[in-house]
Symmetry: C2
Subunit: 408 residues, 2 copies
């Protein structure tokens, strides 16, 4: 029997999805699970988008241009303009989800062995894309005590080597919910400029900034236009994760020409999703206002509920729909599996993502979990109830008295 | 300004798509172009599929399971059963087009530097996937004189090294249209068994086998069940290239577990396309009978027309919807570009794919083109007229008397 690849065998399973078999088993045994482990909102996809699918006009479901439908790219320039981002449609390549945008950006900009600096904790799949591109991730640690603010630039400087080719951020951040300020981005600009690095920014949660705080895009930074690569997706914006439509955007013409070759190699992004996404640009502001208000109330409820549990600490995030909480537990992986295998409250339990998957070293984030507040308030209440009860009876409960006193 | 990756810069543009800018220019100048360069059929997508899209039932366009919707995978086992392929649904991973199935198969089975033997000429994008996986393609030459039959197994044996991990075929073949016989596949089985190799088979054209010839799948071969990987796509089957739905299929459990990790890293295949593809399984046989009859008449017309042109030789293929023709020209790339830039007949011209892109060495296939007979008979007649006229006036016309005498 032939053997599988070393890369494939050594690749860690997705921390968000590796507990799925335990969840499937629990469901088969009749347990209801509140899924706070994955950024799959219960928010309805806007009618603009669903109507376009119901009225799909083509008789032949053709390939599109490898860079995406021209009409969609042209209309997208209007969408970005609303956020103060001026683009020509040729500066946009439509991708199969944000995932492919990241993958193509890495492959187009970085050679095997090159290094990319990423504030940690970071979206776990960045590891998978880096592994595919044979790129080395150099994590720059941010802390729960600071609410996961950008680490000082001096920390980035420490890790710059001749192999450093890029810095990558996610803003607002998955998994932390942190929203970078204009000042933080300006400080990143200086180091990008100084070392002539690529600056990749995953900004798929731009619609979800709270408390009147302002969204600043890397596309707003002047003087590094050829260094900046914007990575985008409609998955969260329109609650359309399954459409698999994203975008790679840059003013750098050489990059766009190189990226197009990778795009051609996979022929085209999905046509159905593009037709729907093009129509979705007309989604009224009222849709977003309603969704945003909903997320704010969910966040407020979840963060308050968490901080009221003994030994739990959760900074209040200003964006996206995630938060990271520190729990009084021995091991987040064990705890999250235990929630599915051995715990239930009135035949219900909650599924969380162990934060270990968002850190680069196995000994980091061991008492943290990521919570996606993607369910309605009633469900969130029951889910927080489950978690609260579970923490009381979990055999691996550990209350770190010093840390708790310092941060709660 | 930061520089793009070496891999990216050195990657050849898709031979099928690199002439697109010349075509766009010609169109803007008012020239009508017959696209025989790309496997984008004009056949209508079946109603089964379009109706499912028009009635798309979900309110939230969710991620699916990373391996694809369970209901779709289960129903697909029935589709394969009709072709004598027995599967459990867990032996199927739904991919974003056949492209992703090939990419995941390579990454899951092969390490950087490993070698894969592929009969040449082969589908050009295999080069792109190999480059991404850092795998070395070792071409095994098949010839136009034999109609591109499988090269003798002794030719494969010659190139087996300790680095050889896989053999890949496309059956029926893009770009040659050749349909491998049961005997040819049995001979491949022996070498796969002897060296314990992976056998990848791209069988996306199984519905298109002509002249009563039988389709044999690698899944029919007994004794190498753990070596065989079937790569599939609905693009051609239902004329739904833009749906971007494919599949990676194997009885090898270790491979499927490894492939699932790569599938998880990109979250999920497109939901719209999967819903449509699931419904498409109910497409009546009458649809395929009609489509097949249409392709047979197109093939018969095109092959006859080509062989009637002076100095042209085109073997008659038994499958898919492509043929490769040898033309009396100096250079296929130049000729195909010239057709778009400098030639027109009554404001019309034809776009072909230079065969050079389907060979591994730049000096091979220089007088061959791939023709996709994906247009209706009227359009094909006008397209063949254009080609016939163009060959008479092309400044680089070269009639190789000896070769022509030997093969026409």
């Amino acid at each position: 029997m032939p053997v599988t690849s070393i890369n494939g065998r050594e690749m860690p399973p997705s921390p968000i999805r590796k507990l799925v078999p335990f969840a499937e088993k629990a469901k088969k045994e009749g347990t209801k699970i509140y899924h706070l482990n994955i950024g799959q909102p219960d928010i309805e996809t806007p009618d603009t988008m669903l109507n376009a699918i119901h009225n799909f006009p083509l008789k032949v479901v053709e390939y599109s241009h490898s860079a995406g439908l021209e009409s969609y790219r042209k209309k997208l320039t209007g969408y970005y303009k609303r956020f103060g981002i001026e683009l020509d449609y040729t500066e946009i390549i439509i991708t199969t989800g944000g995932s492919e945008a990241i993958e193509i950006a890495m492959m187009s900009c970085m050679d095997p062995g090159d290094e990319i600096l990423i504030p940690e904790p970071f979206y776990a799949n960045y590891n998978g894309f880096s592994a595919k591109a044979n790129v080395k991730v150099i994590p720059i640690r941010s802390t729960i005590e600071s609410g996961f603010a950008l680490p000082p630039i001096s920390e980035f400087e420490k890790f710059i080597t001749p192999k450093t080719k890029a810095i990558m951020i996610c803003n607002p951040s998955n998994p932390t919910g942190y929203l970078y300020s204009k000042e933080e981005l300006e400080s990143l600009k200086e180091i990008v400029k100084k070392h002539d690095l690529w600056l990749f920014s995953d900004e798929v949660y731009r619609e979800f900034c709270y408390d009147g705080k302002e969204y600043t895009s890397v596309m707003h930074l002047t003087g590094i236009e050829n260094n900046v690569v914007l990575l985008d997706s409609i998955s969260k914006r329109y609650s359309a994760c399954g459409a698999r439509i994203g975008a790679l955007i840059s003013h750098n013409k050489e990059l766009m020409a190189t990226a197009l070759k990778f795009a051609q190699a996979r022929l085209s992004p999905p046509t159905f999703g593009q037709v729907a996404a093009e129509a979705a640009i007309d989604t009224p502001d009222s849709y977003f206002a309603k969704v945003k208000a909903e997320y704010v109330s969910r966040r407020d409820f979840v963060v308050k509920a968490l901080n009221e549990m003994e030994g739990v600490f959760c900074p209040k995030p200003s964006g996206a729909f995630y938060c990271i909480a520190r729990l009084p537990i021995d091991n987040a992986d064990k705890f999250c599996q235990w929630l599915l295998e051995d715990f239930s409250l009135e035949k219900e339990t909650v599924m969380l993502a162990p934060a270990t998957g968002f850190y680069s070293r196995p000994d980091m984030g061991t008492d943290e979990v990521r919570i996606a507040y993607v369910l309605n308030l009633d469900d969130l209440k029951r889910a927080m109830n489950c978690l609260s009860e579970a923490l009381l009876v979990y055999p691996g409960r550990v209350v770190k008295k010093v840390a708790a006193a310092a941060t709660n």
